[in-house]
């Protein structure tokens, strides 16, 4: 069976809008994905029928809201195959999840002279928090480079690992290169050296395998808005043994067990890490997105995305002077490119007037751009609803834009 893309497109209302009078061709999915009607409905339904604060009141609406919120936690748990539902912490997104670990794990486990490793292809969100942590705790960090194809230099990584390495952080899929890193191998190598591993899965959950136990990830972070869910909600998965040993990230309501003037004791997992009234509807919307995805066959989704990706790469490479940057052994859904003599901002602007939405610039990965020796790239990134026609429009629009830019 192949994915019924026509049917899927019908589920996403925004795909039928027009920009500048042209049908929207949305190719900025690595930045954020569009939402199916089911997600929009779940959010409207929450506010229409059972909006209420959770975990505290004994009234009917509060019970409904609490149940839906906690059911969403179990949906996430199943989706990534976590062992316990309390290993799922709701955060604002990937960025907050990583900062939570950098702060709370760092507070206890990172000491002066310890070492942290991350990679040259990491998003600023999985780069800066570790620099800040090392500064705060007097620790040192190493950055694993990538080769000219966009594959991590595992040989260098191996040499950087040593008995002082406490933590390794890397993105499973790079948002700037599209490289799918060999996560299992990277994690195994870190564990062999006695280090703990955080996987930034912001670009991975929706495109590749996402079984935290098969990966043996200690921490695993992703954002709802990149997997067809709402913004403002994300997930930190952590193995119970680490989460238990970590101090809270923020203090406030919800995260406490008992509060007295002398001393406060903390709530159990996951609430210890969820201070204050949480984003109640966020998990509900995100769970609706996961339910939507799970009603599809993931193998078919991947096959479809890979077919459109291969088509895009082939068609784009036929354009004179076009260079694609991510050529890793394994890659997914993301095509970063530049055209000789053409500024990415100029191309992006002209594509926009044709209804084609791509991302231009450094994509929050300035170290990658420095390594590639460019100021920025144009990035087309795919989701399950993109089809071959989208690529045809992209390519035709590039040709039209070049007529203006190369006069």
């Amino acid at each position: 069976m192949t994915l019924d893309v026509q049917k899927i497109r019908a589920d996403f209302p925004i795909l039928h809008t027009r920009v500048y009078g042209k049908p929207l061709v949305y190719l900025d999915n690595a930045a954020t994905t569009q939402k199916p009607q089911a997600v929009i409905d779940a959010i409207v339904d929450y506010y229409t029928r059972y909006n209420s604060n959770i975990h505290r009141a004994a009234h009917h609406l509060s019970n409904l809201a609490t149940e839906a919120h906690e059911a969403a936690r179990r949906t996430v748990q199943r989706h990534i195959n976590a062992e316990h539902e309390y290993e799922i912490i709701f955060t604002r997104g990937t960025t907050e999840a990583i900062n939570l670990v950098a702060y709370s794990f760092g507070e206890v486990f990172i000491n002066p002279g310890d070492e942290v490793i991350f990679t040259m292809m990491d998003h600023h969100s999985n780069f800066v928090p570790w620099q800040m942590l090392c500064e705060r705790r007097g620790a040192n960090y190493h950055v694993v480079p990538f080769d000219e194809n966009g594959d991590l230099r595992l040989d260098i990584y191996q040499n950087l690992l040593n008995s002082k390495t406490r933590l390794v952080a890397f993105n499973h899929v790079s948002n700037s290169l599209g490289t799918v890193n060999p996560a299992q191998e990277i994690i195994r190598m870190a564990h062999d050296a006695g280090a703990v591993v955080l996987v930034d899965a912001a670009q991975a959950v929706q495109h590749v395998d996402h079984d935290v136990r098969a990966l043996d990830a200690d921490f695993y972070a992703f954002s709802g808005h990149k997997i067809y869910g709402p913004t403002g909600i994300g997930v930190l998965y952590g193995k119970e043994k680490w989460l238990d040993a970590m101090p809270p990230y923020q203090g406030g309501g919800e995260m406490i067990e008992r509060v007295t003037v002398e001393k406060t004791t903390y709530n159990k997992l996951p609430f210890k890490f969820e201070a204050g009234t949480p984003n109640i509807v966020g998990p509900i919307g995100m769970a609706a997105a996961l339910d939507y995805l799970n009603a599809l066959d993931f193998t078919e989704v991947r096959a479809h995305e890979d077919a459109v990706l291969a088509y895009a790469r082939k068609k784009l490479l036929e354009i004179d002077g076009l260079k694609i940057y991510g050529n890793g052994k394994l890659h997914t859904s993301i095509v970063p490119f530049n055209i000789e003599g053409v500024h990415h901002y100029d191309l992006g602007t002209l594509l926009d007037t044709r209804g084609v939405a791509v991302r231009t610039g450094h994509h929050c990965t300035e170290p990658i751009m420095a390594a590639l020796g460019v100021e920025g790239t144009v990035r087309a990134s795919l989701a399950l609803y993109n089809n071959f026609e989208d690529i045809d429009v992209l390519v035709e629009s590039i040709h039209q834009a070049l007529k203006i830019l190369r006069r």
Binding site: Y20, H343, H344, Y345, D346, G348, T349, L350, T353, T360, G361, H362, E375, G376, Q400, I404, L405, R407
Partner: protein, 141 residues
């Protein structure tokens, strides 16, 4: 010499003959290409206004309360936008530059390029020009 308001009105009129986006951008790019190139010695780190998307160089001079500007960018479109900005501001009394209501970008539908400080350096450039003009007013008196 035309005032800032008159120049803006003229730009708006010029663009009104260009209903298609392709025509507008083609015209903009041409403006950028035809504008006098920036003197090499002015392409300094000091004159660099760094946007998230493109680089803009802005050279400023103040003579007797009048503002003189040169600009360049690695992006053709931003260079064209900068050329428009210079048409409006360069050679104008600093007093006027510091107070002028800059509305033509919006009227010709190019406001998106000014929408965020981080995008392309254009807004940062406008802010630079304005604060320079304030300084220049002080020097002129």
């Amino acid at each position: 010499m035309l005032t800032i308001q008159e120049i803006q009105a003229q730009i708006i009129e010029d663009f009104s003959f260009l209903p298609e986006w392709d025509e507008r951008y083609a015209y903009l790019i041409e403006l950028g290409q035809k504008s006098p190139p920036m003197a090499e010695e002015n392409r300094t780190e000091d004159n660099l206004v760094r946007g998230c998307q493109s680089l803009v160089w802005l050279a400023r001079e103040c003579h007797q309360g009048v503002v003189y500007l040169q600009a360049d960018s690695d992006s053709l479109i931003v260079k064209g936008l900068a050329a428009l900005l210079l048409q409006v501001f360069s050679g104008q009394p600093a007093e006027e530059v510091s107070q002028a209501d800059l509305h033509f970008f919006e009227t010709i539908g190019l406001n998106q390029h000014l929408s965020s400080q981080r995008t392309n350096g254009l807004l940062a450039m406008v802010n630079e020009i304005r604060s320079f003009a304030v300084q220049c007013v002080g020097e002129g008196s």
